[in-house]
Symmetry: C2
Subunit: 161 residues, 2 copies
């Protein structure tokens, strides 16, 4: 297990779509440019996201991608595991049969616990949370900032602490 570039790009893509709003169609080119993702690579990534039911793909002229779920219902874990498979940390967690002593290995149990903890952490983060903060994320639509008057949207969240 390893967080690949493809997973990082997938997260950026879903963030961009979340900011656009659910069911807002956005062209692949726009996402690629704004979120700094190689356009052709994004095409492949989008296919995986679509298979997982996270986004919908519209072909043809004026085609593109759109988020098929509410950002609040999409977790970071879902997007990550769509791209890299289920997180396991160590091979023997994914395939216990690979090491014959796994049933009674004390180290194996540590990896199991650590994996569960990591997956829980990522499951707790949804995309509505991620876009709540402002960010210098390249995809942040300046137009949105101006029309909605969110000059310092970060402050609201900082005040909570």
């Amino acid at each position: 297990m390893r967080l690949t570039r493809a997973a990082e790009y997938a997260i950026r893509c879903v963030i961009y779509l979340s900011r656009q709003g659910q069911s807002v169609l956005t062209s692949r080119q726009e996402i690629a440019e704004q979120a700094d993702i190689p356009a052709h690579f994004l095409a492949k990534i989008a296919q995986d996201l679509a298979k997982a039911g996270l986004i919908e793909i519209r072909q043809g002229a004026r085609g593109g991608f759109l988020l098929s779920k509410n950002p609040a219902d999409v977790t970071l874990l879902e997007v990550v595991e769509t791209m890299i498979g289920e997180i396991s940390l160590n091979d023997c967690v994914a395939r216990p049969s690979g090491c014959k002593i796994s049933p009674c290995c004390s180290v194996h149990r540590v990896w199991l616990d650590a994996r569960d903890q990591l997956r829980d952490s990522l499951r707790r983060v949804s995309f509505d949370q991620l876009i709540a903060d402002a960010s210098c994320f390249p995809s942040y639509p300046k137009a949105l900032l101006e029309t909605e008057g969110l000059e310092t949207p970060l402050s609201a969240r900082n005040d909570l602490q």
Copy 2:
């Protein structure tokens, strides 16, 4: 970041040495055979462990490796990070300069927290804990089992739950 085979072998090696006891010299061949590690590969791994001060290497006839610290003072995190470098999960955690938006990226903060949590989990596990449980670990010395009468050493720990 990814847990490599080398890291897994390093853990097995340190477990074997911990079972032998601190400062007990053990040949590379014995460790390799008992813990199921390719002998030549173990040589390279041992060099890294030695550089980190975890084990000591004795050259020459009747040479081998020995644990230079008390198993209670060696954590799983130390051994793992000796082999694969500091755990970062995502590249931007290790090198924030790699992504120019990292200072105010909400996803970046999630990776930071998850990394800290994972590292803490591994830091909490020391090798005296790992060898306290019995295990079908190939390196478990049967002789030790017999002399100390630990027929069911796993039960002691299960009773605690």
